[in-house]
C-alpha cells in the first residue's frame, strides 16, 4: 500500500491534553523525504509535545499518525526508532560517564565470535565515524569531558548511524560554536542528499532561512502557518510566532493593562550594569524607574530568563553589578537579593517557585517567616493576617488557606506565588512569564495586578513570550538577542511592529 511518494511522516488532527493545558489542538504536520522542515514557536507553543508524539514518547489523545503512508502507533521511543525515526534532544541525552565510543555504540556494539564486545573495533570505527563530524579527540575518554558541541555531534552521529529516515533535531545549535555549526550544516546537507527527512527546531532565524525548505509555526498548541520558507519573510515569520492571529485579537479585545505610569524624573530603583555570564549573558545593562514596567523582549533563548535569574542572584556572574536604590547588592545570592528588596517569580513555578505539597498559607509566609516570628517561634496570628490580606487582595480562589497549593488551578498557584513576593515588601518585582499556563480570567487579573503594583511605585521587570502582553504591559522594552541587548523600545516605539522589527533585523 505504501505509495513511493508518500510522505515520510504525517500527522493529521493530533491533539494532546495535559491536566490544565491543551498542549496540542488539532495539529497537522507533514514531513516529506529529503526536506528540512523547520518547526518553530515560542515556549509552550507545543513544539516539544509534537516532537514527543512523533517520536513515540507521548501517545496522542486524538488524530492520526502515518509513517510512509501507513497508519502507525508508537508505544514508546523504541517503536519510533525501529521505524527509522531518530531524535537529537536539546539537552544531550547520552551517558556522560561512559566513553565516547561506548555511547556511540550503546545497544549495537560490534561483537566478536564469542559474542563479546569487540572494544578495539568499536573504538576504531567510532574514531572513523566521528572524524566525519569534525571530532578528532580520543574516543576512549568519557563523553562528559568533551565540549557540549562535541557531545551534540556524538548524539547526531549516533542518531544518523542507524539508517535513519527521519531525524528530529531539537535546537541542535544552542550549544555549538560557529565552527561546529558549519560542521552540523555539512552533515545536514549530506542527509538531505540521502533523502532523509529532517525536522529542525530552532529560534535562530538565520539558520532557518539558510538550511530549511519548509516551515511550520505553532502557537498555543495550534497550527498557525505551514508552507515554504522562501514564501515568508522574516517579519511575517516572527509575527506568526509572536503575534496573535487578528481574529483572536478582535474576539478577546486587549489585555487588561492600563496606560503608562513612570514618573519621569525619579531615580532608578533598579540599575543593572554589564551582566556577564559565560555562554549566557554578555554586557546586559538596563534601568528600571519606580513605577515603571520594563519588558524584556526577544525570542526564546535570547537570555531573558537568564537576566532575571542573574538579577535575583540565582545565576553565577563573571562580571556585573545590580543596584537597588543606588546601593550595590554585594555577594549576589537569593537571600541577599531578597533582603535588598528584589522579589522574583521564576519561569517554572512548579519546579522553582512553589512548594506544591505545602498549603497556601505556608507558601505565602515562607519568605517572610523571620518577620512573622519571635525568637524563632512563628506567630500564627501574624501569618493568618498577612495570608488573609494577600489572599483577598489577589483574589486567590481556594477552599481555604490550608488547601494544598498543588491542588489549585494554574492561575491560583500563580497568585499564591505573587502573594509570597508581595509579602516580602519588595522594591523590584521580576516576573518571568507571569501569565503562562493560566486561564483567560486569571490572566486578566494578573495583568491588572501588575499594573496596579507599578502604579504604587514598584519597579517591575516583565518577561513574556506573548507579544501583546509584553507591549501593552511595558513602558519600555529591552530587546535581547543571544544574551546581549539588541535594542530598546520606548514611548511611541513600544508597538508590536517595532518589537518584531528589532527581533527580525537584529540578526548579526
Amino acid at each position: 500500500m505504501s505509495a513511493p511518494d508518500a510522505p515520510l511522516l504525517e500527522v493529521a488532527g493530533v491533539s494532546k491534553q495535559f491536566p490544565g493545558v491543551r498542549a496540542l489542538d488539532d495539529v497537522s504536520f507533514t514531513l516529506r523525504a529529503g526536506e528540512v522542515h523547520a518547526l518553530v514557536g515560542e515556549n509552550g507553543a507545543g513544539k516539544s509535545t509534537l516532537i514527543k508524539v512523533l517520536t513515540g514518547v507521548y501517545q496522542p489523545d486524538g488524530g492520526d499518525l502515518r509513517h510512509l503512508g501507513q497508519p502507525v502507533t508508537f508505544n514508546g521511543p523504541l517503536d519510533a526508532q525501529a521505524a527509522g525515526i531518530s531524535t537529537i534532544y536539546q539537552e544531550v541525552n547520552l551517558v556522560p560517564l561512559m566513553s565516547v565510543a561506548r555511547n556511540l555504540f550503546l545497544g549495537r556494539e560490534p561483537r566478536n565470535r564469542l559474542g563479546l564486545v569487540d572494544v578495539s573495533r568499536m573504538n576504531r570505527e567510532a574514531a572513523e565515524i566521528l572524524a566525519g563530524y569534525g571530532i578528532t579527540s580520543d574516543v576512549r575518554r568519557p563523553l562528559g569531558l568533551m565540549a557540549l558541541g562535541a557531545q551534540q555531534m556524538v548524539a547526531l552521529a549516533r542518531a544518523v548511524m542507524v539508517d535513519a529516515r527521519v531525524v528530529v533535531m531539537d535546537e541542535p545549535t544552542s550549544s555549538l560554536e560557529p565552527r561546529e555549526v558549519e560542521t552540523l550544516f555539512g552533515v545536514i546537507a549530506r542527509l538531505h542528499e540521502r533523502g532523509v527527512g529532517i525536522i529542525y527546531v530552532s529560534h535562530r532565524l538565520d539558520e532557518l532561512y539558510r538550511i530549511c525548505d519548509r516551515v511550520t509555526v505553532l502557537r498555543d498548541g495550534k497550527l498557525v502557518h505551514t508552507g515554504l520558507i522562501k514564501d515568508l519573510d522574516r517579519l511575517q515569520l516572527v509575527s506568526h510566532m509572536l503575534g496573535r492571529p487578528m481574529s483572536e485579537v478582535r474576539k478577546e479585545g486587549f489585555t487588561s493593562f492600563g496606560g503608562e505610569h513612570a514618573a519621569a524624573d525619579s531615580k532608578p530603583v533598579l540599575r543593572v550594569a554589564d551582566l556577564n555570564s559565560r555562554h549566557k549573558l554578555t554586557g546586559v545593562s538596563f534601568e528600571v524607574l519606580p513605577g515603571e514596567v520594563v519588558g524584556l523582549g526577544g525570542l526564546l533563548g535570547a537570555g531573558r530568563s537568564e537576566t532575571i535569574k542573574a538579577v535575583a542572584g540565582a545565576l553565577p556572574l563573571d562580571r556585573g553589578t545590580v543596584e537597588i536604590d543606588g546601593t550595590v547588592v554585594r555577594r549576589p545570592n537569593p537571600v541577599a537579593a531578597l533582603k535588598a528588596g528584589i522579589a522574583v517569580q521564576p519561569e517554572d513555578r512548579k519546579a522553582e517557585g512553589l512548594a506544591l505539597g505545602l498549603s497556601i498559607r505556608e507558601n505565602i509566609a515562607l519568605a517572610v517567616l523571620p518577620r512573622l516570628s519571635t525568637a524563632g517561634i512563628v506567630s500564627e496570628r501574624k501569618i493568618d493576617k498577612i495570608v488573609e490580606t494577600f489572599m483577598t487582595r489577589l483574589r486567590v480562589k481556594a477552599s481555604g488557606p490550608h488547601q494544598r497549593v498543588g491542588d489549585l488551578s494554574g492561575g491560583n498557584q500563580q497568585k499564591v506565588l505573587l502573594a509570597r513576593l508581595l509579602a516580602t515588601g519588595p522594591k523590584v518585582l521580576l516576573l518571568d512569564e507571569p501569565t503562562r499556563g493560566i486561564d483567560v480570567g486569571a490572566k486578566a487579573e494578573v495583568q491588572a495586578l501588575i499594573d496596579e503594583l507599578a502604579a504604587e511605585g514598584l519597579g517591575v521587570v516583565l518577561v513574556s513570550s506573548d507579544a501583546e502582553e509584553l507591549i501593552e504591559g511595558s513602558d519600555r522594552v529591552v530587546v535581547l538577542r543571544d544574551g546581549a541587548v539588541a535594542g530598546m523600545l520606548r514611548g511611541e516605539e513600544v508597538t508590536t511592529e517595532h518589537l518584531m522589527n528589532v527581533i527580525a533585523t537584529a540578526a548579526s
Binding site: 521511543p77 526508532q81 551517558v95 556522560p96 561512559m98 556494539e109 564486545v117 554578555t282
Partner: protein, 335 residues
C-alpha cells in the same frame, strides 16, 4: 567577550588535560596505590606479616567479602544499593551446611537458588514498584534474617557440614592456597568480562550514568535492574556457602555489617555511589586494602580491632568527598 590569544589557549588546554589525567588516575588507582603503601609498611614493620601463610590467610578471609563486593559493584554502578547481602550471606551459609548432607551439589545449589530467588524478588519490586533500592533491600535484610532464624530454630541450631566432598572443598588447597580463592579469582575474571565486554555490562553503566538517557537509547532498564539484584543475591549466597565450607558449619551470628564492609570496599575502590562509573579492579583493591588493614591491626596487637571500623568509615568519607571534589575539578578542567 574576552578573547584569549591562541597559543595561550593551547597552553591552558594542555594544562587542563594534564589535571584531568591526574584526577582520573587518582580516582581509578587510588585504592591500589594506598594498598601498595600499606603493604610496604606492613612488610617493613611486621615480621609475621612477611610470610606466605599470612598472605594465604589474608586471601582466604577476604574471599567471602570479595564475592559480596563483586555483586555490590554491579548494583552500585547501576546507581542502586543492596543492603540485604549480609543477611543473605548468613542465610546462604546456613542453607549450605544443612544441604551438605545431600551432597556437594546440593550444598551449592540450595543456597544459590534461595538467595537468587531472594534477589529476584527484590529486583522485581525495585523495577516494577519503583521503590527506592535502599528501602527495598532494607526490608530484604530483615526478611532474609527472619528466614534464616526460622530455618535455624531462632538461631539455636547450628548445622554442621557433613564430612564429604563439600567439606573437602572447604579444606582443599592447591599450591598452598584454598580452593575458594581460586573460585573468587575465576568469578572476578568472568565478572570483568561481563562488565566490560558484554551488552549487559554496557547497560549497567548506562543505567547508572543516566537512567533517562539510557531509556531513550533503548536500554532495557527493568531487565538490567532485575539482573544485578539477582547477581548480587547469588554472590552473597555463594559467599555464605564457601564460608560454611571453610568453617564446617552454618554459623548464624555472623554477617551483621557485612553489607557495610562490601559497600566500603566498593566505594574505596573508586566506584561512584551515585552510579555510572566503577571498576572491578578497584573493588579487588578495596577488599584487599580493608583486609590487610585488619590483618596489620591484628599483627600489631596494641591497637584494638575497633580502629579497623574507624579507618574504613573514615576511608569511605574521605573517598566520597574526594570523588565529589575530583569530579568538580574534572568538570572545571574540561570547561
Amino acid at each position: 567577550m574576552t578573547l584569549v590569544a591562541e597559543p595561550q589557549l593551547e597552553k591552558a588546554e594542555a594544562a587542563s588535560l594534564r589535571t584531568e589525567r591526574i584526577v582520573e588516575l587518582v580516582q581509578r588507582q587510588g585504592a591500589l596505590a594506598v594498598l601498595g603503601i600499606v603493604l610496604v609498611v606492613g612488610l617493613v614493620a611486621y615480621d609475621n606479616f612477611r610470610s606466605f601463610d599470612n598472605a594465604a590467610t589474608i586471601l582466604v578471609s577476604a574471599a567471602p567479602a570479595a564475592l559480596i563486593a563483586l555483586g555490590m559493584t554491579f548494583v552500585i554502578i547501576t546507581g542502586g544499593i543492596d543492603l540485604s547481602v549480609g543477611s543473605l550471606y548468613v542465610l546462604g551459609g546456613v542453607l549450605a551446611a544443612w544441604a551438605s548432607q545431600y551432597g556437594v551439589a546440593a550444598a551449592f545449589a540450595v543456597p544459590l537458588a534461595a538467595c537468587g530467588v531472594f534477589g529476584l524478588v527484590q529486583g522485581l519490586v525495585i523495577a516494577y514498584a519503583r521503590l527506592a533500592p535502599f528501602i527495598v533491600t532494607l526490608a530484604g535484610l530483615l526478611g532474609a534474617r527472619g528466614l534464616m532464624l526460622a530455618l535455624s530454630d531462632e538461631g539455636g541450631t547450628t548445622y554442621l557440614v557433613d564430612p564429604g566432598a563439600f567439606k573437602d572443598f572447604g579444606k582443599g588447597e592447591l599450591l598452598g592456597i584454598k580452593y575458594s580463592v581460586y573460585l573468587v579469582v575465576v568469578l572476578f575474571v568472568i565478572g570483568m568480562v561481563a562488565l566490560y565486554r558484554t551488552r549487559f555490562g554496557q547497560s549497567v553503566y548506562a543505567l547508572g550514568g543516566s537512567e533517562d538517557a539510557a531509556r531513550l537509547m533503548g536500554v532495557r532498564i527493568r531487565g538490567t535492574q532485575i539482573k544485578v539484584y539477582v547477581l548480587s543475591g547469588l554472590l552473597a549466597g555463594l559467599a555464605g556457602t564457601i564460608n560454611a565450607a571453610r568453617l564446617g558449619s552454618g554459623v548464624t551470628v555472623l554477617g551483621t555489617g557485612m553489607e557495610l564492609d562490601a559497600i566500603a570496599a566498593v566505594v574505596v575502590g573508586g566506584t561512584l555511589l551515585t552510579g555510572g562509573a566503577g571498576t572491578l579492579g578497584g573493588t579487588i583493591a578495596g577488599v584487599l586494602l580493608l583486609q590487610v588493614i585488619q590483618n596489620l591491626i591484628n599483627q600489631d596487637g596494641k591497637i584494638t580491632s575497633a580502629w579497623q571500623t574507624v579507618i574504613s568509615g573514615a576511608f569511605i568519607a574521605l573517598v566520597v568527598v574526594a570523588q565529589t571534589y575530583l569530579a568538580r575539578l574534572r568538570r572545571v578542567a574540561s570547561g
